[in-house]
Each structure stands twice: as C-alpha cells, then as structure tokens.
C-alpha cells in the first residue's frame, strides 16, 4: 500500500537504501579522519526542544546553560530556566549528542509550552537566541514551524546561521504539510533510517531530505533519570548533530557547508 504523503524516510528504508551508493571524489577522506578523536571538545551545541534534564547521567554533566522562551505581551523573551525537561524529548536529544560527542558542551533552549497554538513565534525567538547569543556553533532542532507567517523570519534565521558559521541540524516532519526551517537549503535535514546501528548514516543525493540517521527503536535518556525506547525523525537529527560536533572539533574553522560535505563524504553509502 502506498500513500501520497511525503515519506521522507523512504530513500533510507529496505531495498531503496541500496540505491543510494555514491561515487563522489572522496577516496582520500575516511571516517576516522573526518570525525577525529577530539570527541567534540571545544564545541558548544544548542538544543532547541522541551528542555534538558541537566542531572541525567546520560548528559555527563555537560549542560552548561539552560534558558526558556517566555511570552512577553505580544512578543517573546529568553530567560534563565532550571535544567528541567517538560517531556523528556530534549533530554533524549542531549543524551544522543553526548554519546557521540562526549566532550561537547550543551545548551538547552526550551521553547515548549509558550506557543500552544503552534504559530511558531516562540520557536523563532528561541532559534534566534540559539544562533545569536548561545555561543553554540551547532543547533539541534527536533521541531519546526508549519506557519507561513514565520516563513520569512525562519528563512532569514537559517541564512543568518549559515553566514555566522552556525550549523542548523533539523528533523524533517512526516506530515503532509511543509515545515520550516527543516526544508531550507542551508539546513542539514534529517529523517530516520531503519538500520539498527547508531553509527550508520546515509546521504540522500535527492533532497530536500539529505541525511538518514538512527531513528528506529533508539534507546534514549528520558525525564526523571530514566531511559526509553523511541522512534521518529526527531531522534535521528541528534545523531547527525553529534557527528557534526566531532567533525567541527577535529577541524577547527570548518564551515557549515564543509561540515555537511564531510558528513556526505563519510556516509555509509559513500564509496
């Protein structure tokens, strides 16, 4: 049975995955060189999500800052917030990133709960803070906005991040509505694959979705010091974020474009 939905995981699943073989000029680039052995040292990663539980063992004490977006009349502002997680999702993302890049510092930007009608204003405010003020060079986005109202603002933020040397990594959304900034060209967009290995990732030469990462039955940290098994594109994105942190740590000065190229060059389907 097929549907007309945008099945973003489709290129990374089953037999279709075999068709992803790449023959790029990558013979002299290997995974060990690209990822290096610095483990993300010196890199700060922002996590725009439901908050991060700083005391969770899976975070390894790496949470260095925690803020939340608050409504301020018709506007939003970013204020210091306790290192808590309203749901567990942000902690899950942080745990995945810490697993892959244990030396990287983490910053939590909680945007959940300010904007329940989902028009995206609080999300855009949190993303702007992540890009401009968090000190992070990589931002992990497990959510996006579907509102045309914020298309322009989010597009400007994606470009601003790119030119400020900040890499945005965004989970794509498997619903039949466009969502931003995950579909913008300057962003690294990620869907889940169905290979049961956290260290497997694939590059898709037919965008908009460029990368497939571990997102099926992922063992993650969750709220309250616990762990859960979860599935979804939003758990694939932090895998790419963690890899990007290692690449940027191993190669100081590398740009978002070059980081993306190295991720593609060292993907499981690169030859």
């Amino acid at each position: 049975m097929t549907t007309e939905l945008p099945a973003w995981s489709e290129p990374f699943v089953g037999e279709r995955r075999d068709g992803l073989a790449r023959h790029g000029p990558w013979g002299r680039v290997d995974r060990d060189w690209a990822l290096g052995d610095a483990g993300g040292r010196g890199i700060r990663v922002a996590i725009v999500d439901s908050g991060v539980e700083g005391s969770h063992p899976a975070i390894g004490g790496r949470l260095v800052d925690s803020v939340a977006v608050e409504r301020d009349g018709a506007d939003w502002r970013v204020v210091p917030a306790p290192p808590d997680d309203l749901v567990g999702h942000g902690t899950a993302s942080a745990g995945v990133i810490h697993d892959l890049a244990p030396e990287a510092d983490l910053v939590s930007i909680r945007v959940l709960g300010v904007d329940n009608k989902g028009n995206g204003g609080g999300f855009a405010a949190g993303l702007a803070w992540a890009i401009e003020q968090s000190g992070a060079s990589i931002v992990n986005l497990s959510l996006s906005s579907r509102s045309d109202t914020f298309f322009g603002q989010l597009h400007e933020l994606a470009d601003e991040a790119y030119f400020r040397n900040v890499l945005l990594v965004s989970a794509v959304n498997n619903v039949a509505v466009a969502s931003y900034p995950s579909l913008f060209a300057a962003v690294v967009s990620v869907a889940a694959h169905d290979v049961p290995r956290p260290d497997a990732w694939f590059y898709n030469p037919e965008p908009p979705v460029e990368f497939g990462a571990h997102g099926l039955n992922v063992d993650v940290a969750w709220r309250g010091g616990t762990r859960m098994t979860v599935t979804g594109n939003s758990f694939a994105a932090p895998h790419i974020t963690g890899l990007a942190a290692r690449i940027r740590s191993a190669h100081p000065g590398i740009t978002p474009f070059e980081t993306k190229a190295l991720l593609a060059a060292t993907a499981d389907n690169a030859t």
């Binding site: 749901v87 567990g88 989902g118 579907r146 619903v175």
Partner: protein
C-alpha cells in the same frame, strides 16, 4: 420569525429575488441539517477514524484529542478499543506528555517501554485505568495549523510501531483533520445563517435588529475566516441593496453552500 415556506424579503419585487430566495433556503436547509448533526456528527466521524485505526494497527486502543483554546487543554474526544474507553473527556496540558509534545511541535513519534518511566504520564494513564507499553502519536495538522493528536496504543502481540506506521497513522490523522475542519465550517455557517435569516424574514425588521443579529451570530466564529465575515457584511447590507449588490450576496451564498457540503470520501491508491 422565519417560518419554513414563508420566507419574505423587502427585495421581493426585484428579478433576482427568486434566485436569492432559493439560495438562502438551500443554505438554511443545509444549516438546519448541520445544526441537528452537531455535535453528534463530528463525534461520529472522529469515532470512525479511531475505530479504523484500532482495526488497521491491531492495537489495544486509539484516541483523538482536540485542542480547546478556551481552556488551553487537549481534550480526548473519542477513544476506540476496550482499553481506551476510560480516556474520553480527559484534559491534558498541551506542553506535557507525549500527546502535548506532538501537539506543540507537530512532530510525530513513537515511545516504547512507557511504564519504565515512573513519572511519565502515569497520572493520566492511571486515570484511564490503562497504562500502555507503547504509544504512537501523530499530530492532526493541516495548512491551518495543528488542532489535536491521534494516539495509537499497544499493538497486539510483540510487534512494535515502525517508521511506516508513523506515516500510515499520519494518513488517518489527515482524514480526521479534514472531517473536523469541515464540520466546524458547517456548524459556524449554520449559526450565522439561522440567526440572520430569522431577522431578515420579518418584513418590517429594524436594520438595527439585523445588525445586532449578525453581530450575535458571528461571535465565536473561527478567527480569520474572511469568507464568513464577508457574508455577514453582505447580508446586512442586502436589505437596502441595489440589484447588483444582491447578486453579490447570491454569489457568496452559492459559494458558501458548496463549501458547506461534506467532503468527498478519500481513497488510497493501492
């Protein structure tokens, strides 16, 4: 007061009157039907989507929660499957738990081993008398935004939820979203027209009364629905309108009547 078959307007001498009358009566009839169906009709559509979801996924339960702006809560409106019956009516904070996360972010997800988290949704789950092992949750979303969440709980046997299940549940969620949007338009249209027609039908109605009736009718209409606001204005002006303006009202009513028709059933390609 409007009596069926006796609708009369101050515009009756104009050539367009028959067309106007027919259009008004057609919309009024549709609105009357919609009023009789609501809320039972909307619930029935949601229930059928939930029932189909349980059957297709061979799940213990499925539920549909809709966001209610007045209380800022996600309220479970229907549930299917024996394990889901206790959940109807539960009100959840839209920023907490799996349903809240999926609603506020629009990002579908699956969680397993739910019971392993001592704090996870337990108060809500225990309120239903059922604590699930795994949850698949997808947003009810369209171009107008996110209006709720469809949840599927616990497959029979050991099969968990996979990536394709997320996409498939998304199709069901889309069906529910279309149905809910359509029934809301129909309900709001009915409220507006019944009130306006009642006022217009009185031969000597005071224009101020008409304005008041329109104002009363449009309270609570979905924000941003320009079509309904335009209709309200046009109907109010029609009492003193030239034939060309009356034609505008007829056109708007025709369009509205078409819009209020239930959507054609959707089929999937196989």
């Amino acid at each position: 007061m409007y009596v069926p078959g006796s609708l009369r307007f101050g515009l009756m001498n104009e050539p367009l009157d028959d067309r106007l009358l027919r259009a008004l009566e057609a919309v009024a009839a549709r609105a009357a039907v919609a009023a009789r169906l609501e809320p039972a009709g909307g619930e029935a559509v949601l229930r059928s989507v939930a029932d189909a979801t349980v059957t297709l996924f061979d799940a213990e339960a499925a539920s549909i929660a809709l966001y209610e702006p007045a209380t800022d809560r996600l309220v479970i409106r229907v549930a299917a499957g024996t394990a889901g019956e206790g959940a109807v009516g539960l009100a959840l904070a839209p920023s907490e738990g799996i349903a809240g996360y999926v609603f506020t972010t629009g990002q579908p997800l699956v969680v397993s081993d739910v019971a392993a988290d001592p704090r996870f949704d337990r108060s809500t789950a225990e309120g239903t008398g059922y604590v699930p092992r795994s949850i698949l949750a997808v947003p009810l979303v369209d171009d107008g935004g996110t209006i709720g969440v469809l949840e599927v709980l616990d497959r029979h046997g050991d099969a968990g939820f996979g990536l394709r299940d997320i996409e498939l549940a998304g199709v069901f969620a889309r069906q529910a979203t279309v149905a809910i949007r359509a029934s809301r338009v129909e309900r709001d249209t009915g409220e507006l027209l019944r009130t306006v027609l009642a006022a217009l039908a009185a031969p000597d109605a005071n224009p101020d009364d008409v304005e008041a009736a329109v104002a009363a009718a449009i309270v609570g209409l979905d924000d941003g629905d320009d079509g309904l606001w335009a209709l309200a204005d046009a109907v109010a002006r029609a009492r003193a309108a030239a034939p060309g303006e009356v034609a505008l009202v007829v056109d708007i009513l025709d369009a509205l009547a078409r819009r209020a028709q239930p959507p054609a059933p959707r089929t999937f390609r196989r």
